[in-house]
Amino acid sequence: MNKLETLKQNLAGQFNIANYKFTHAVGDDVLEVPKEDVPKLLMHLRESGQFDFLMDVCGVDYPQREKRFDVVYHLFSSKDASRLRVKAQVGENESIGTALPAYRGADWFEREAYDMFGIKFEGHPNLRKILTHHQFVGHPLRKDYDANLNQSCTTSLPIHFNNEPGSPGDVLNDKYVPLNIGPAHTAMHGTLRVMAEMDGETIVRCNNEIGYLHRCFEKMAETHPYNQVIPYTDRLNYCSAPMNNIGYCKTVERLLGVEIPPKAQAMRVILAELSRIIDHTIAIGTGAMDLGALTSFFYMFGLREQVYGLFEKLCGARLTVSMTRVGGMAQDAPEGWFDEVLALCKEIRKGTDEMAALVLDNKIFIQRTRGICPVSAQDAIQWGYTGPMLRACGVNLDLRKAQPYYGYDALDFDVPVGTSGDIYDRYLVRFEEMRQSVRIIEQVCKNVPGGDYTIRDKGIVLPEKKDVYGNIEGLMNHFMLIIKGLRPPVGEVYDATEAANGELGFYLVSDGSANPYRLKVRPPCFAIYQSYPTVVKGAMLADAIATIASMNLIAGELDR
């Protein structure tokens, strides 16, 4: 409660805190305020240096309540890794002030809340749809919207731009050439669309449209029991699926108040670090491919295939593994698996060094990336950058160090940081992170703790199949858990892990039923990609392609 008391004293002079509600629930500090105070409060929290990151803005719908919506802000401080959740109630026909003056990173998050719930943010210059298509009527995450209600789309929007001060919005300028790239373009990784106005080879202004892979993850989570959400999380960042499983299960476990056994923790750490490695191989491989180097892609994929082999041995799947369960892992590792991981570590180390020599020392690569479209540390924090993109700007923030979980604090590894925040540094950081991940895996694999791979609480974890078919108690527990479902207590929690792209946060609201009431994902590349038009403004077109590749945008988690 100490931090909350300090905050109370700090706010007492400037705000009417008699209306405020300070609570500490499930390990999170929560501050409920009237909606009128939100913009001023957020500005104060940032300017006084208490919370430099706005991690997430989202809505929650309570149709029975007088004021229907909650707008929830998640703040983070890089100084002491403390978090604060600010909540305000907004009625259906009311609006709330935008958080944009305080945090630029609120831009897309507020647009998403508008798209999903119809919450209006006063003062937001581009409050338009972001994920659903332009012919979509209604707001899908409201509780009265049926998850099955498809609305078809017949056209694509023409080239359009954001309303920025000093620029004419959607009106095209005759002097410049409008250019549309994507969504079906190689460099756009399948589902991104970039629209630009070009003066020769230079981008005068630029806008990016997303939502081409909006698969309604959050609505699906609300209509499925807790354990059935796990396969959906696989498909968020499909390049490193186990990390999403881990992030989601960790959140539910925190709400349940259970701690998983040491062996499950060790397996999760190994899976997470292997995923980090293969995620970076894709980022580097396709990044170099976008710059014209196909060789690196083939090299990197060779490495990736070997890791797939390990996943296959563990669970039978290659890409979307769904290996974790709430309470631990789905099954134990096969005999000798940890030794195989150790053996592969040597290969990965060798392959990484080879690739680093091939890519980072390549003259063309250096000239295409060094000093191109740099982002300053200050801007990066304002936008809500996390992960390798943030560290490339020179900010030493890694949740594995700042807010250690699963025994990361006992492991010996370094957090690589860049200096200039340009494209070259981003790849430099990724290569070094791969080496550090190998170090982590080796340390864990050499001392795998014994014991069970999951907790055995019959209200949380299904009994093993041999018990289900072997004795009446097992059969009964299985039946009860399937029928009744896993039911966490009423409450809410925000939990984050350091995924390959940055902070992967899950905000979970439970109403005590078998399905999550609301599950909001805070995807790392969503915050990063919203800065894209600003970052590439004035750059050459080819550099914009290099930038988009270096951001490692995974449409699955970007659009959800």
Partner: protein, 185 residues
């Protein structure tokens, strides 16, 4: 092997007439129906356009990658322009927002053209029975081969491509394609 036959053939010994020409041609030529020859060429030189939108796109990269190497099936030339490709591989979820785009891409491809729907999402919407997901890409474009899986293994993708090759080789009728009309016209 061929050399022996050529040396032993009558043409080299100065024989004349149709018999000699016929014998000679047997050493290096064969006869076939023209359409069978064309089909043979088509099936062994499919140029895929990978339309990778999601997880399946990553698995399709594996299929193109060093371990599985689609080049062995004559389909290694991945083209990202629909005008240069004859096989559209829909690898990943197609959302309502994407549907008009992929229809246009399909229309831009030149004949003959084929479509493979890779994975559960492209085939039926998969486990995304949801408000923004197209329930199968065959709602907007004609599909020749469906590959099950979420995502399908590279082996399954190769199986699908071989199934398509058999379809091409045997001139299987494709009414779904012949009767196709753009849903937006």
């Amino acid at each position: 092997m061929h050399n022996d036959q050529v040396q032993g053939s009558p043409s080299h010994q100065g024989a004349t007439g149709t018999q000699a020409v016929d014998d000679m041609s047997r050493s290096f030529a064969f006869t076939s129906r023209l359409d069978a020859l064309v089909a043979w060429g088509r099936k062994n030189s499919l140029w895929p356009m990978p339309y990778g939108t999601a997880c399946c796109g990553i698995e399709f990269m594996s299929v193109m990658g060093p371990k599985y190497d689609l080049a062995r099936f004559g389909a290694e030339v991945a083209r990202f322009s629909p005008r240069q490709a004859d096989l559209l591989v829909v690898a990943g979820t197609i959302t309502e927002k994407m549907a008009p785009v992929i229809t246009r891409i399909y229309q831009q491809m030149l004949e003959p053209k084929y479509v493979i729907s890779m994975g559960a999402c492209a085939s039926s919407g998969g486990f995304y029975r949801a408000y923004h997901v197209l329930q199968g890409v065959d709602k907007v474009i004609p599909v020749d081969v469906y590959i099950p899986g979420c995502p399908p293994t590279p082996e399954a993708v190769m199986d699908g491509i071989m199934a398509l090759q058999r379809m091409i080789a045997t001139h299987q009728p494709r009414p779904w394609k012949d009767n196709w009309k753009s849903p937006y016209e």
